[in-house]
């Protein structure tokens, strides 16, 4: 980040600066979610992308390949997703902000490097434009069944951050947030899109650079003799250096101590893995974000994210028209989970209705948060289509107190 950039805000001891104007396509556009995601990355200061083509995500890197040379960036089409997902880590350690983009099968291949990014605390962004699975599944049709894979698809214990946009505008906005969160917590951040949001075209407003907040990478001010690459600050996040800056750091995916040196023992593992997990868990309240619609008096709480939230919104409106107090809780940040808000809502809700394009992933988290205090009903979808609002409405009606009167 340009040192001349204006400091916009200080959050949690971290600076926010304004976006580099070179990457910001200020104006009102008509873009699909994939294109908007690409613009979000450029606005966020990302100048390096590596990827391997896969429907329905390819348009993101196609646009990046076209735009990057005009703004000082680079796109590498690598030989596969194993390569793309670690090439971006290399670029990050060289000082770039970097991301990769994929869909189900490619996402599966990236899992090992998600773990590597977690373990080495390499801030990067991975976009998964979800399609129907398993395996090659439905390349051109939507799914939301990679949500658990995003959370724990790599081996070992860890926490990450995942966001779920429900419109092209949010594909733009949340991509910027994803880059910022990655820097703030030094963690891989996932943008969990879906084919519908990726391919839907809508108005996208890109603000002027001065109105876009960017979290720059936090480099150490300590000299090499005093710097320990994995000594964390009070928030559990260590400061970084770049290759080439004269710090003889050693970075490894092995369990390591504060010096970054391999340490094959239980104590080092406890210290490192707990910190990696806690730097996210202990900041859940700051990271979690959601949107609420008519929840104040709601007795039926519908929970839905991504494209499904738009369908669910219609179901909620239909229920309201029938006099049923329904509301929508839309997780924008899906991981970490908005558990606290759900626990509060469990005090008022008669039932929770969870709609998602899978056969039950986030619903399990809702059940866990609600802890049996109200029924939690799943409106599933195996992939390939969005729900009909009527399906969700049906579930709302089934659990509403006034259903007899109305029917």
């Amino acid at each position: 980040m340009d040192s001349k950039a204006k400091v916009l805000a200080v959050r949690q001891g971290r600076y926010c600066v304004q976006a580099d104007p070179a990457g910001v396509l200020t104006g009102t556009h008509f873009l699909d979610g994939d294109q908007a995601c690409c613009e979000g990355a450029l606005a966020a200061g990302c100048r390096f992308a590596a990827g391997y083509p896969i429907t329905p995500s390819t348009e993101i890197v196609e646009r990046f390949a076209q735009r990057a040379p005009l703004v000082g960036g680079i796109f590498l089409q690598m030989e596969d997703e194993l390569a793309s997902s670690i090439a971006i880590a290399g670029a990050v350690w060289a000082g770039a902000k970097a991301f990769t983009v994929t869909s189900g099968p490619g996402f599966s291949l990236m899992m090992e490097h998600i773990g590597f990014a977690v373990m080495t605390e390499t801030p990067l962004v991975i976009v998964d434009v979800q399609r129907g699975g398993p395996s090659t599944g439905l390349p051109t049709l939507p799914g939301q069944a990679d949500m658990m894979q995003a959370r724990w698809g790599s081996h070992g214990d860890y926490e990450i951050i995942a966001l779920s946009p429900n419109s092209p505008q949010e594909c733009f906005d949340l991509t910027i947030d994803a880059f910022n969160l990655a820097e703030q917590y030094r963690v891989p951040v996932f943008l969990m899109m879906d084919e519908c949001v990726g391919h839907m075209t809508e108005k996208v407003v890109i603000p002027p650079p001065g109105e876009i907040e960017i979290v720059p990478r936090r480099y150490t001010s300590l000299p090499p003799s005093q710097y320990l690459p994995y000594r964390a600050d009070a928030h559990g996040v260590p400061e970084m250096v770049r290759a080439g800056d004269g710090y003889p750091i050693h970075i490894t995916g092995l369990t390591h101590d504060e010096r970054g040196y391999p340490a094959t023992n239980y104590q080092a593992q406890e210290q490192l893995v707990r910190r990696l997990i806690n730097k996210i868990r202990q900041h859940t309240d700051e990271i979690v974000r959601y949107e609420e619609t008519t929840l104040d008096d709601a007795e039926i709480v519908v929970v839905a994210y991504g494209i499904t939230a738009r369908v669910a919104m219609q179901a909620v409106q239909m229920a309201r028209e029938r006099g049923i107090a329904a509301g929508l809780l839309r997780p924008i940040v899906v991981w970490p989970f908005l558990e606290k808000r759900l626990r509060e809502l469990a005090n008022q809700a008669r039932a929770f209705v969870v709609a998602e394009i899978n056969c039950g992933q986030i619903v399990q988290e809702v059940e866990r948060a609600v802890s049996g205090r109200a029924p939690v009903v799943l409106v599933p979808g195996a992939g390939g289509a969005v729900h009909h609002p009527e399906e969700i409405l049906e579930a709302i009606l089934t659990h509403a107190s006034t259903r007899e009167v109305l029917r």
Binding site: L70, G72, L76, I88, A89, A96, R242
Partner: protein, 293 residues
């Protein structure tokens, strides 16, 4: 106190390159990897490169541990993926000298796809492969370089797969520098490493190295010294040899030397030229020193 202890020892010139706080290392007695690190340190010393800009990237394995012992910016990545990580580093900061240091299994088995594509693209990486004919770290299984009939823990009745001839593979895929030596040839190794450090483009050095604990023991080849004797006796120096004929049979002759040293535009040059040609003034140029003026 012995007399010896009072004589001040001349400092070892490679000490500055080693993270001495990490010694003792994990390598077995008689293993050739340490020897190659010694050669590499000497090559660095002679290169007069700004060491702040030299980065070593390893994959996983016994050789993969090299990154962790060098007092340089170093990355110990994942099994097979040192090359794509190094690619990201190099492309994002072309001023870095990026060395990939790893084992045969890492580079050409699990990482084989990345190896050939980086060579094809002529990524400016210096790839050093310690070939001990086996997977050392995991206990001596067969690898793509195990000679026919050699015993490994997963070919207990002898290897029946045709091995890769690495110099031939590297040259065919597009490497602009290809050499092979053994851990016996310390001067030649140091020299070759020095050449690679100066060379622009995908350069590849195969180092045939002993693994007395696993490969040597299973094949009754004696100890580390016996393996060295084999390297000494059976190596045939043949600069410019046809790499196609450089395959290695079980305890057979080892063709060593510099086989390839050619010029070809590197990836970033090609990219910058193409973009500058097509986009003209619109090209923002991402990597200063390669942008044609």
């Amino acid at each position: 106190m012995s007399v010896l202890a009072e004589v001040p020892l001349a400092p070892n010139p490679v000490e500055a390159f080693i993270r001495s706080e990490r010694i003792p290392h994990v390598w077995c007695p008689g293993c050739g990897i340490g020897t190659t690190v010694n050669c590499f340190s000497r090559a660095l010393l002679q290169s007069r490169l700004n060491l702040e800009r030299v980065v070593v990237v390893s994959g996983i394995g016994c050789t993969g541990r090299v990154a962790g012992y060098l007092q340089l910016t170093s990355f110990h990545t994942t099994h097979g993926r040192a090359i794509p990580f190094a690619t990201g580093l190099k492309v994002a900061n072309p001023e870095l000298t990026v060395v990939v240091y790893s084992g045969d299994g890492d580079l050409v088995s699990i990482g084989g796809n990345h190896f050939i594509h980086a060579a094809r693209r002529n990524q400016d990486l210096k790839v050093i492969c310690v070939n001990n004919f086996t997977y050392g770290m995991t206990g001596g299984q067969v690898t793509p370089t195990t000679p026919l009939s050699a015993i490994s823990s997963t070919t207990p009745y002898g290897c029946f797969e045709e091995p890769f001839n690495l110099p031939f593979l590297a040259e065919s895929a597009g490497a602009t520098y290809v050499a092979r030596w053994t851990s016996y040839h310390v001067r030649q190794l140091t020299h070759a490493m020095g050449e690679m450090l100066r060379k622009k483009g995908f350069s590849f050095l195969e180092i045939i190295s002993g693994c007395p604990t696993l490969y040597g023991r299973r094949n009754r080849l004696g100890d580390g010294l016996d393996e060295m004797k084999y390297f000494k006796d059976k190596s045939v120096v043949q600069h410019g040899a046809n790499t196609k004929e450089a395959g290695i049979g079980f305890q057979g002759p080892i063709v060593v030397g510099k086989f390839v040293d050619i010029e070809r535009p590197v990836f970033l040059e090609q990219m910058n030229q193409q973009l500058a040609r097509t986009l003209d003034a619109q090209y923002a140029g991402c990597v200063g020193d390669y942008v044609p003026s």
